[in-house]
Structures are given as structure tokens and as C-alpha cells.
């Protein structure tokens, strides 16, 4: 059986990629300053069942997938 933590690991990795991209853009916009990460807050969001909804059809009672999300709040400073 798959562990939910595996999905959360994937979600965390995706969030980090996004965060690194945004931080590198911020750093590039301020070349005379050094970007320092002050803190990272990690928050697991509740999983959601995904059920496909089609127009003019009753909603299926069978979830097609489950989706989990991780939110990272990165506090940084430009010094």
C-alpha cells in the first residue's frame, strides 16, 4: 500500500522547485544584494478526493484520484 508520505514528498519537491525559481528571480533582480533565507514554514494541506464532473451527468461516487498539497512559506531578506 502506498504511503501518503510519498505523495507529500513529491509535493514538497515540487514546491521547492517553484520556490527556488522564484527566489532566484528575486536575487537576479537585486544583484547588489545577497538573498538570505531566514526561515521556512512547512505546512501540509489536507488531501482532496478528485471526482470528475461532467455536464448533464450525475457526479460519480467514485474518486478518480487523491491530491495532496504542501505549502512552503519562505521568509527571506535582502542584505
Amino acid at each position: 500500500m502506498r504511503e501518503a508520505s510519498e505523495l507529500y514528498e513529491v509535493a514538497t519537491a515540487k514546491a521547492w522547485i517553484d520556490a527556488e525559481m522564484r527566489l532566484s528571480e528575486i536575487a537576479a533582480a537585486a544583484p547588489d544584494k545577497k538573498l538570505e533565507i531566514v526561515s521556512v514554514h512547512y505546512d501540509r494541506l489536507p488531501g482532496e478526493s478528485l471526482i470528475e464532473e461532467l455536464p448533464d451527468e450525475p457526479k460519480s461516487s467514485r474518486p478518480d484520484a487523491v491530491e495532496v498539497a504542501v505549502r512552503l512559506r519562505i521568509r527571506y531578506a535582502l542584505r
Binding site: M1, R2, A4, E6, L7, Y8, V10, A11, T12, A13, K14, A15, W16, I17, D18, A19, R22, L23, I26, V38, L45, G47, S49, L50, S61, R62, P63, A65, V66, E67, V68, A69, V70, R71, L72, R73, I74, R75, Y76, A77, L78, R79
Partner: protein, 138 residues
């Protein structure tokens, strides 16, 4: 001398003052096939007195769960949650509610799982229990 000390303090503060912090919020998502399915059912019993509603509600719950046991659905587990007593919305009296969360692993085929949940819902209808959020997954 005192003025010099104050000037030195202010200058040091200007150099050492912490830079302003900024925040980046990002959300990462991951999707997978469900490996657990949930069925949330709610049982309600109404009576003139809350104690009577609770007694008959517990009795109906035990009878319902005994009937569920007799279905012998493989891999099915359940837990009971919430005791809610609230004023009846259909006339006078009190309503006693319990929630039952059924859990089933995704290992049986989808058809078997759907059949099992349909049987549970049919059985629930006989015991004044009904599906609330229907089927969720995890």
C-alpha cells in the same frame, strides 16, 4: 562626549539593523490513485426527549453495525464518530446523530468496491442511516 556616544550608537544601529524580511509562498501538489476509500454515513434518531433519542439512536446503531458485520465485506473497517444532540428541524423534539466512517482498501476491484458500498447504503437506508459525503478517498 555623551553626544558622541549617541552618534556612535545610532551609526552602529544603522549598520546592524536587520534587513526587512520578505515572504514567498509556494504550494506543491501531488496526485495519485486512491488506495483507501471512505464512506461517511450519518444516523439520526428523533424523539421528544434527548435521552430517548440517544437510547434509540445507540440501539439502531448497534443493530446497523451488526447487520454490516453480517455482510462480511472483506477489508472493510469502520469507526464511529460524533455524538450530536440538536433540536429537531422537522417538528418538536431532539435529534441524536452519529457519524460512521467506513474504510475500504482500494485493493478489491472497482466493481467489488462499488457493490460493497451500494450494499452498505442499502442497508443504511433500513436503519435510518444515510450517506452524507458519499465516497472520499485517501
Amino acid at each position: 562626549m555623551k553626544v558622541l556616544r549617541i552618534l556612535a550608537f545610532v551609526a552602529a544601529g544603522a549598520v546592524c539593523a536587520p534587513a526587512e524580511d520578505w515572504v514567498v509562498d509556494v504550494t506543491g501538489k501531488a496526485r495519485g490513485a486512491p488506495d483507501v476509500y471512505y464512506l461517511l454515513m450519518k444516523m439520526e434518531q428523533q424523539s421528544a426527549r434527548a435521552s430517548d433519542a440517544a437510547l434509540s439512536g445507540e440501539k439502531a446503531l448497534m443493530e446497523f453495525l451488526a447487520a454490516v458485520e453480517r455482510l462480511k465485506v472483506p477489508g472493510l473497517t469502520w469507526r464511529i464518530a460524533n455524538n450530536i444532540v440538536s433540536p429537531g428541524d422537522r417538528g418538536p423534539g431532539m435529534v441524536y446523530s452519529r457519524n460512521i466512517v467506513f474504510t475500504m482498501l482500494a485493493e478489491p476491484s472497482a466493481a467489488d468496491r462499488d457493490r460493497a458500498f451500494a450494499r452498505l447504503q442499502d442497508l443504511g437506508a433500513k436503519y435510518n442511516s444515510h450517506c452524507v459525503t458519499c465516497i472520499g478517498s485517501g
